[in-house]
């Protein structure tokens, strides 16, 4: 992230760099999975291939393809941006709330967290009037609750609020 400067639309990172990093990660994953497959047995037993046979050869294929991809990425001289600073900010504007939302779901239950996510996002990121945001979020959450919990009997994680109402 050292490339970040004050100018707003500078690329934060170039496609080529991400391509290289992703190829390396995939290669590492291939080695890890291949090693585990080898550990449980990747050869032939009397009755056919062992449990690790399929994953082992697949990891070799994936590792080979990532190596090739790595070479291609290294030789690639293009300087296209993977993401510009402005784009990254916008992506983070939705990714960070989603991350927080997943954490919140564990403690508050899904419906309360959803209400907070929708209202907060509309108000904070969308600059929509706060009463409108709350109204929309509340209606949406209640409809979701009625649809899944009551009508379709799909059980979601619930927190203290639902417990107070006896669910």
């Amino acid at each position: 992230m050292t490339e970040v400067t004050s100018s707003p639309d500078r690329p934060v990172v170039r496609s080529r760099s991400v391509d290289i990093v992703v190829s390396l990660l995939l290669l590492a994953l291939a080695i890890l999975l291949g090693w585990d497959a080898h550990r449980i047995g990747a050869s032939w037993a009397d009755d056919g291939p062992q449990a690790g046979y399929f994953p082992f050869y697949l990891s070799i294929i994936m590792g080979g393809a990532s190596l090739y991809g790595l070479a291609v990425a290294f030789l690639d001289k293009s300087r296209g941006a993977f993401v510009t600073r402005e784009q990254l900010v916008r992506v983070m504007q939705v990714f960070v709330p989603t991350l927080v939302y997943c954490f919140a779901t564990q403690f508050l239950g899904l419906y309360v967290a959803s209400f907070l996510l929708v209202s907060g996002f509309m108000w904070w990121i969308g600059n929509i009037l706060i009463w409108k945001s709350i109204l929309v979020a509340f209606t949406f959450t209640v409809v979701m609750f009625l649809t899944f919990e009551i009508a379709f009997n799909v059980i979601m994680p619930k927190g203290p609020l639902e417990a107070a109402f006896g669910f």
């Binding site: 399929f54 994936m62 996510l117 799909v154």
Partner: protein, 503 residues
């Protein structure tokens, strides 16, 4: 004509208020997700799949396939009025559809798009009606080697015919197959690739992956691009509809040609995109006045829409008859089948007649009702696009989370979904195709089982894949497709040296 009788049986199964109501809900929701830019067929089906978990299989598939038809219809609204293709295969529709909207002929373009998608789907459904039972019947003779050869064919055709960089297709596919192998090995009962994590014992659920790959990542991409929505107003009057329909017979060649292309390409994976472009290009080539394409010719809407929808529909044929999906959406529907407790494959036609024929009947009915609904509600749905994205985005996130959690009642799956969302975002930006990953995830364990069962049967002899003409020809075709780029180059070189020698 046995098929017709069974089809009637299917229609009878649909004629309950509950199923008709579900059809309506599915269609409306489908048009809604289809209209939203960045969401389309596979995403919508993946996000709304959890609604169907507690339904019986017939109601569930009817609702989901209606959702799919709705999304297909809805995609056309976005492409024509807003010049934003809702799906990759709607790209060709924008070439002439958007210029028509700019000229104030939006209503005409929309009518043309809806009608031609209807015609394309209808022809494809008719093909399914008569061909699917035959293929299923034929496939009942398949043993594990034949099935493995067909899976191999599917995977190889992706690699050989894909447009992306080969290594990226291979990686995407191998990753999908590896992830499908996580958890308990179905043949030996051994644990593998779990690294001692108890959460991984269940394996990586296909639907969780799909919701992340398509739902969450799509939100990230859409947010990044920050689409500026500027659309043209449109409403359909009966007069315009009638005017367009009156001219339909004049374009019968275009419609039939595009349907044929669509039906053919739809059966091969990833065909709908290729079909829409091919339909468009052929219509252009055979036209007396090819330069006028791109300036708002109505054939330019007819041709790609018919082909794309014929392809999108016929992608369901291999899914129903063989248990092999021909498109991303079909793969998700296949995942649904497994959740509802059905075993996809040719046996469906024998064991679950009512389900199969109910599904096929719902394709007819869903298309007709969908056409009517979409025609009546265009102004309303065009207005949906003016709903701020900052309201829609968090709601989609919530739907994704609900979907991921509902599949196995596991919070871990919600985190997994988020991880797949990031993976999908990075892959999309680096041009890694997501369809092979999806397909490999859903087919992986079945392909592996087929391979191992054939090996057990043959005592570990790989020659079993060439042991009779049927499996041999499928396996050979698979290898030919895999090396198609190389073979194609060799043929080209051979012919060019040949012609230079003779010259």
């Amino acid at each position: 004509m046995e098929a017709l009788g069974l089809l009637m049986l299917g229609f009878k199964a649909l004629m309950t208020w509950k199923i008709l109501a579900l059809m309506l809900v599915g269609l409306v929701l489908g048009i809604f997700v289809g209209v939203l830019p960045g969401l389309g067929g596979p995403n919508g089906v993946a996000i709304l799949l959890p609604l169907t978990f507690s339904m019986d299989p017939t109601s569930a598939i009817v609702m989901l396939s209606c959702l799919y038809w709705g999304a297909l219809f809805g995609g056309a609204i976005t492409s024509i009025l807003f010049n934003i293709p809702g799906e990759a295969w709607s790209v060709a529709t924008t070439f002439d559809g958007y210029p028509m909207a700019q000229q104030g002929r939006a209503a005409e373009a929309l009518t043309a798009a809806f009608t031609s998608s209807f015609i394309g789907s209808l022809i494809a459904v008719m093909m399914i009606t008569f061909l699917a039972p035959r293929i299923a019947d034929f496939a009942l003779k398949f043993g594990p080697p034949e099935f493995f050869a067909v899976y191999l064919l599917t995977f190889c055709s992706f690699v050989g015919l894909g447009k992306e960089a080969r290594q990226k297709i291979v990686i995407s596919m191998a990753l999908g197959l590896l992830l499908a192998g996580v958890g308990m090995d179905t043949v030996s009962g051994q644990l593998r690739l779990t690294f001692g994590f108890t959460e991984l014992l269940r394996g990586v659920n296909f639907l969780v992956a799909v919701i992340g790959l398509f739902g969450i990542s799509e939100i990230l991409v859409t947010m990044e691009e920050r689409l500026a929505l500027q659309g043209h107003p449109a409403s359909l009057s009966f007069k315009v509809v009638w005017q367009v329909w009156k001219t339909l017979p004049r374009y019968w060649v275009t419609l039939l040609r595009s349907s044929a292309i669509g039906c053919w390409l739809g059966i091969t994976p990833g065909g709908a995109i290729a079909a829409s472009f091919m339909g468009y290009n052929l219509a252009k080539r055979f036209d007396k006045n090819p330069e006028s394409f791109g300036t708002g010719r109505i054939e330019g809407v007819f041709a790609p829409e018919t082909a794309a929808h014929a392809a999108g529909t016929s992608a369901l044929l291999p899914m129903l008859a063989l248990g092999i999906p021909g498109s991303g959406t079909a793969a998700i529907l296949l995942g649904g089948l497994m959740v509802w407790g059905l075993n996809p494959g040719p046996l469906l036609f024998v064991e679950h007649k009512e389900f199969v024929w109910g599904t096929i009947a719902s394709m007819y009915l869903g298309n007709v009702i969908g056409l009517i609904i979409v025609m009546c509600t265009v102004p309303f749905f065009a207005a949906v696009l003016r709903v701020p994205f900052s309201a829609v985005a968090p709601m989609i996130v919530v739907s994704c989370a609900i979907g991921a959690y509902a599949i196995q009642n596991a919070m871990f799956d919600v985190w997994l979904m988020l991880g797949f969302g990031v993976l999908g975002y990075v892959f999309k930006k680096l041009d890694y195709p997501l369809a092979p990953l999806t397909l490999a995830l859903v087919l992986g364990s079945r392909a592996e089982d087929a391979f191992r069962l054939s090996m057990i049967g043959a005592g570990g002899d790989l020659r079993v894949f060439w042991s009779n003409w049927l499996v041999g020809s499928i396996a050979t075709l698979a290898l030919v497709l895999l090396f198609w780029p190389v073979i194609g180059m060799a043929i080209e070189r051979a012919t060019s040296t040949f012609s230079s020698k003779t010259a």
